[in-house]
Symmetry: C2
Subunit: 261 residues, 2 copies
DNA sequence: GGCTTTCGGTTTGTTATTTGAACCGATGGT
DNA sequence: ACCATCGGTTCAAATAACAAACCGAAAGCC
C-alpha cells in the first residue's frame, strides 16, 4: 500500500464516537510505526486535513474537508439533495432512516434521520462501516453489484454478529438472488438482534448501484402492515433520491418497484 | 515536500470553475510528472477522494470528502453554524456576504450568500484563494495573526490586481496596523476595481483568528450611510459567528466592536 | 485515408524518500 | 522515587517515488 493510502486511511479512524485521537493511539489503530504515523499526521495537518487540539496535542479532522465537500456537493449534490427525502422517510414511517454510500468498496453511512413518533428508536451514531452480509443496506447493494464484487466480499470472513446472522456464502448467495428478484432487501436481526430493517439500492447516472437507503425499526414493531408501509415508502423515496442524483433505475428494477408499490 | 502533501495538493486544483480535470492537465497544473500524478490520483481514487467520470476518464472529487466533512461538522460546527448568520447578513445589507477560513496558511472562501435586493451584485463563484494584501478579508485576518505570519506573507511577491491595489510591504503594514486599531478592514477596489468590501476577523476557542466574514458591494453603492450600515451588521454577525464557534473575542477587539457598533 | 498531436496509462533503472527501532524529555499515576 | 506512556526525534537500511521514454487509442487536420 502506498504512502498516500496510509495517510488517507488515518482519516478513517476518526468517527463520531472517537473524534479525537492521540499519536500513539492512531499509530496502534493503523498498525503503523509511530514515526511514520507522526510524519503522515504532520503532513495531513500542514494541509488542513487534521489539526491538533488543545494541550493534549490530540488530532481531529481539520477544516480542509469542508471546502472539498462543499465543492463535491456543488458538482454532485448527493447529501444535500437526499437529506429532505431522508427526513420525510423517517417522518412518514415513524422509524429511523439512513443513507449509505459505497465508497472504496466499503459501505459507509452518510446521513440519517430520526422520527419522533416513538420513544424507542434505532440509534446509529457511531457505525463506521456497514457489513454487507448482515445489514439490509449491505444486501441491497450487494445484490446489484457485479458478480466479481460479490465474490470478493463473500470470500472474506463473515462475522456472526447475532444468532440469526447468515454467514454461509452459499446461503448468502441465495438471499442475494432473492433480493435481486424482489428489488429490495430485508434483515431481521442480522446486525443487532432486536433491529429489523429494509433497504433499497440507489443508482447513479450510469445505472450502477452506488448506495442504499434503509429504514430500521425495532423488531417488535415490525408487523406485516408496518412492513408493507415501510416498503412502500422506501420504494418511493428510493426512486426519488435516484432521480435527484441524476441516476437511472435499471429497467428491471423500475418494473419490480412499480409492481411492489 | 512529501508524497502525501503532493497528493493532497492535487485536490486543491478542483474548483467550481474547473470541477473535472484530466490526467495530463492536472500533472501540468501541479507541475508533476505524469506517472507520479497518475499514481497519486489512483491512490486518491482507491480511497474515494476522487473518482473518474464517464469515458473521458477525467477526475473529480469523490464521495469520501462528504463523510469526513459531516464528521468535522458534527465535532466543530463551522459551516452549518455560520450559514444562517451569513444569509441573514446578506439579506440585511442587501449585498453579497462571504465567509473565509484560514487553512494551511491560505485564505479560502468557504461559503457565501447573495441578496436579492439589487439586480447587480458581486458574484464570487470560482475564487480559489483570497490574496491577503488585496482583499478586506485578507487584511482583517492578517491584522490578527502573529507578526511572523505577516512577515512571511508580505515577503512574497504581491500582485497588482487593480490600479488601487497596495503592493508595498511598508504601506501594507501601515494599513494593517490601522485595521488592528479599528477592529475591521475595508478594501476599495483592491481586488476588483468596482468592488468595495468590508471584513471582520473571526476567532476560535483559543482566541486565534481563524477566518474572516466580509460583505462585498459594488463601489458605486458604497456611500457613507451604506458603509456605516454594513459595518454595524458585520460587527454583529462577526460576534455571533465567533460565539457560535465557541470562540472568544480577544478583549480589545470586543471593546473596539462595542464602540464602533 | 494518412499524418500529427494529445490523450490516459505503463514500463524501467536510478534515486530519494519512507521506514522502524531505539531514544528523548516531559508528564502523570502509584 | 519509580515506572509507564505520552508526543516527538534520530539515523541507517529498505522501499517506494521518480523521470523519461514508450504504448495504443482517439481526435484534429490536411
Amino acid at each position: 500500500m502506498g504512502t498516500v493510502s496510509k495517510a488517507l486511511e488515518l482519516l478513517d479512524y476518526f468517527t463520531k464516537a472517537r473524534p479525537l485521537i492521540g499519536l500513539s493511539d492512531i499509530a496502534r489503530l493503523a498498525d503503523l510505526n509511530k514515526a511514520t504515523c507522526f510524519r503522515l499526521l504532520t503532513e495531513l495537518a500542514e494541509n488542513g486535513f487534521v489539526e491538533q487540539v488543545g494541550t493534549s496535542r490530540e488530532y481531529r479532522l481539520g477544516p480542509s474537508v469542508l471546502r472539498l465537500a462543499a465543492l463535491r456537493e456543488a458538482q454532485v449534490p448527493t447529501r444535500d439533495a437526499a437529506m429532505p427525502v431522508l427526513q420525510a422517510l423517517a417522518q412518514q414511517t415513524g422509524e429511523t432512516a439512513h443513507l449509505s454510500l459505497l465508497i472504496a468498496d466499503i459501505l459507509r453511512p452518510l446521513a440519517h434521520a430520526y422520527s419522533a413518533a416513538h420513544a424507542t428508536k434505532v440509534m446509529l451514531e457511531d457505525t463506521e462501516t456497514l457489513p454487507f452480509h448482515a445489514t439490509s443496506s449491505g444486501l441491497a447493494v450487494l445484490a446489484f453489484q457485479p458478480e466479481a464484487f460479490r465474490n470478493v466480499v463473500l470470500a472474506k470472513p463473515l462475522a456472526q454478529l447475532t444468532s440469526t446472522t447468515l454467514t454461509s456464502p452459499t446461503a448468502l448467495r441465495a438471499r442475494i438472488a432473492e433480493v435481486r428478484g424482489l428489488g429490495y432487501a430485508e434483515s431481521r436481526g442480522g446486525y443487532e438482534s432486536d433491529v429489523h430493517s429494509m433497504a433499497v439500492p440507489l443508482f447513479d447516472a450510469l445505472g450502477r448501484c452506488s448506495g442504499a437507503l434503509a429504514v430500521a425499526a425495532l423488531g417488535t414493531r415490525m408487523g406485516e402492515a408496518q412492513r408493507r408501509m415501510i416498503r412502500h415508502a422506501l420504494l418511493q423515496a428510493g426512486t426519488e433520491i435516484t432521480t435527484l442524483w441524476g441516476g437511472t433505475l435499471p429497467a428491471d428494477i423500475a418494473t419490480l418497484w412499480r409492481l411492489a408499490a
